[in-house]
């Protein structure tokens, strides 16, 4: 638990330092002519406060006793990690193979393999969800979801609905 606390605090310090470095692109100091800080002032000084606060959190962990319990329950961390990886793969696939292949794949993996559901549960949800998404987003709201190389397959549908 303590190690995770330290790691997160250190990561936040690094993040705020990165923000500060970025903020210096615009003037961060006081602007004498117009009054008030320059464009980089707000993000810079807030990042500085964040750096100091994260630093305080890190220092506090060295003073305190180890908190009871572990950050990750090892049996559960595998499930969480699996879902995160599946999510990343799905998002990466979306612009290439299209939403209507990527999302059913994800649903199939989640329900059948991860959730160990029966075919009776998996198949209807895997098929009906993309159908609902198509009618809701593309037909009703006219927001086109990414289709990747499957785009030509949708031309007849476009012609029919629009």
């Amino acid at each position: 638990m303590l190690a995770a606390d330290r790691l997160i605090a250190a990561a936040l310090m690094a993040l705020s330092a990165y923000f500060m470095w970025h903020a210096t692109v615009l003037p961060i100091g006081w602007n004498g002519e117009t009054g008030g800080p320059g464009g980089g002032g707000f993000p810079f000084w807030l990042s500085a406060i964040m750096f100091a606060a994260a630093c305080g959190i890190l220092l506090k962990t060295f003073r305190s006793q180890a908190r009871s319990g572990t950050f990750f329950d090892l049996s559960m961390v595998r499930s969480v990690l699996a879902v995160v990886i599946a999510l990343v793969v799905t998002i990466a696939l979306m612009p290439i193979v299209g939403t209507y292949i990527a999302l059913p794949l994800f649903l199939f993996w989640y329900l059948r393999i991860f959730g160990r559901h029966s075919w009776a549960v998996t198949v209807p949800i895997t098929i009906l969800t993309p159908v609902f998404l198509f009618f809701f987003f593309e037909v009703t709201v006219k927001i086109l979801l990414p289709k990747g190389f499957t785009e030509p397959l949708f031309f007849p549908l476009y012609a029919f609905f629009f």
Binding site: A4, D5, I8, L12, L15, S16, F19, H22, A23, V25, L26, N31, G32, T34, G35, G36, P37, G38, G39, G40, F42, P43, L46, S47, I49, M50, A53, A54, G56, I57, F71, D73, M76, V77, S79, V80, V83, V84, L87, V88, I91, M94, T99, L103, F106, Y110, L111, F114, G115, R116, H117, I125, T129, L133, F136, F137, V141, I143, L145, P146
Partner: protein
């Protein structure tokens, strides 16, 4: 009375067929979302917001408010039937609701929760109606200095009253504010914080992206870890006899319900407080003042009524500063605010002048939402009992798909979907390490207002920082902000002094 005329006009808007349908839909969706363990009003609003493009903006806001409302009712359902709060706001409802269910009085407890929610919701909406216009009138006099002081005060309430680790709260506020500055500088229009030269950052980081990440994906990851198996559902049957019995019991509890409603409303207005502490406070007060206080925790109906009136009243209370001042009273109202800005309905006093139809339509829809919610809640109890048996693995899969598509739809950029995934994982890890999420979301929503009002004031006053203290209203807010900020220190010193007086402890 001008107010009644406005309210009557409002009802003309909210009672249109489309808006009635929307209220019924929203409340039903909210009830389901609220009833699902792990998902509360804030998750519901975050996930559903991208879907609201279907309806006109004013109806979209009514829909989201109805979801917010329904979720407050729904939270009690899983508190009673599963013993797991459906949302953090319904934690206090488990104390007596669960024992009641175990004694076979689940139906009675559910009726009590629904009716109490209705009473709390209605009393607080009446308070809301009375306070809204006067508060908006005062807020009309606010200049940028007052706006800045007010936003600052909202953030310091998290430090003083939030109850989370102070340093972690400060980190989250700053992180939210810095993320809000990504994109183009408000005053000079120059680009800033364009990470890795990604063009997607030029349009800034949308509150929706953060909210879907943290409250959608982050929440699902959290749920996967904490509860993989579906818990046992206590069966509940509702008969007309039980309904009558419940209403008779409730009739004896007017004092508790009034107390819970008024308390909830005012606690709900504070950004850092809100429905969860309001419900806990109401439970505590009811326990210490009730004649049957000893049986609290063992299935006393008053122990269900007290928190349920308060959490519903608090949700209305948190809408008041959002609508009149543009300062949200809770993370959910922060999302509503973000949504309104997205649709060009900028909350604040001017909204009451420029869009009275919308404002009063929204207020009157809260009345109809209460009626709809109590009726649907009681009528659909068998359906909720069934829905609670839905395995988490089905629910989570659907929520994740909605997060991905809902994150893509508003901007139609994969950039935002990647950000959502990043915020989801980051938010999940930080939440595990006890970093509070509410200040982060509020800061991202309020960041642009805070920076703009700060820099406008300084430009107008030629860089004179004392402008914030010299104006009476903003000076008062600044003093309050300082007080809230120093509150933990004062508490600490008082405790220290007490310890010195009584060293024997």
């Amino acid at each position: 009375m001008e107010m009644f005329a406005h309210l009557a006009d409002g009802f003309a808007t909210s009672l249109s067929p489309l808006n009635i349908l929307i209220v019924v839909l929203g409340v039903t969706a909210g009830l389901f979302i609220g009833a699902m363990p792990g998902l509360g009003s804030v998750n519901g609003v975050a996930i559903v917001l991208p879907l609201t493009f279907v309806v006109p903006p004013s109806s979209a806001i009514i829909l989201l408010a109805a979801i917010y409302y329904g979720a407050m009712y729904g939270g009690a359902i899983s508190s009673i039937l599963l013993g797991i709060p459906g949302a953090s706001t319904a934690v206090a409802t488990t104390f007596d609701g669960r024992p009641m269910a175990q004694q076979g009085k689940a139906g009675l407890a559910l009726i009590a929760a629904a009716v109490a929610s209705f009473v709390g919701g209605t009393i607080s909406v009446i308070l809301f109606t009375l306070f809204a216009a006067p508060l908006a009138d005062i807020a009309l006099k606010f200049g940028p200095a007052e706006e800045f002081a007010l936003v600052l005060m909202a953030f310091t309430t998290f430090v003083g009253l939030g109850g989370d680790d102070i340093l972690k709260t400060i980190v989250m506020i700053c992180l939210g504010l810095v993320l809000s500055t990504v994109g183009l500088d408000l005053i000079s229009g120059q680009p800033r914080l364009i990470f890795f030269d990604q063009p997607g950052f030029y349009s800034g980081i949308s509150f929706l992206v953060l909210a879907i990440g943290v409250y959608g994906i982050g929440e699902v990851l959290y749920t996967i870890e904490t509860s993989k198996t579906a818990p046992a559902v206590t069966p509940a049957k509702i008969t007309l006899k039980e309904l009558g019995l419940g209403l008779r019991e409730m009739n004896k509890l007017w004092k508790t319900m009034t107390m819970g409603s008024v308390l909830g409303f005012f606690v709900g207005m504070l950004p850092a407080a809100g429905a969860t502490p309001a419900a806990l406070m109401s439970y505590g007060i009811a326990k210490s003042t009730s004649k049957t206080g000893r049986t609290f925790g063992k299935g006393n109906i008053e122990g269900v009524v007290a928190p349920e009136t308060a959490n519903n009243a608090a949700s209305t209370g948190s809408l008041l500063p959002m609508l009149t001042l543009g300062i949200p009273g809770s993370p959910t109202t922060a999302l509503l605010l973000g949504g309104m800005v997205m649709w060009g309905l900028v909350p604040g006093p001017m909204l009451f002048i420029e869009q009275p139809d919308f404002v009063w339509g929204l207020i009157s829809s809260l009345y109809t939402a209460n009626f709809a919610a109590v009726a649907i809640n009681i009528a659909l109890i068998p359906l909720f009992v069934w829905a609670l048996r839905m395995p988490f693995t089905v629910l989570c899969a659907l929520v994740l798909v909605l997060c991905i598509v809902g994150g893509y739809a508003p901007s139609q950029k994969m950039h935002d979907v990647w950000l959502i995934a990043g915020f989801g994982v980051g938010g999940y890890l930080m939440r595990k390490a006890d970093y509070p999420m509410a200040p982060l979301v509020l800061a991202l929503v309020l960041g642009p207002l805070m920076e703009k009002s700060f820099r406008q004031t300084l430009i107008a006053e030629r860089g004179d920082v004392f402008a914030f203290i010299e104006r009476p209203l903003s000076g008062t807010f600044m003093a309050l902000a300082l007080l809230f900020f120093l509150l933990p220190l004062i508490n600490y010193l008082v405790k220290g002094a007490k310890r010195k007086i009584a060293p024997a402890e």
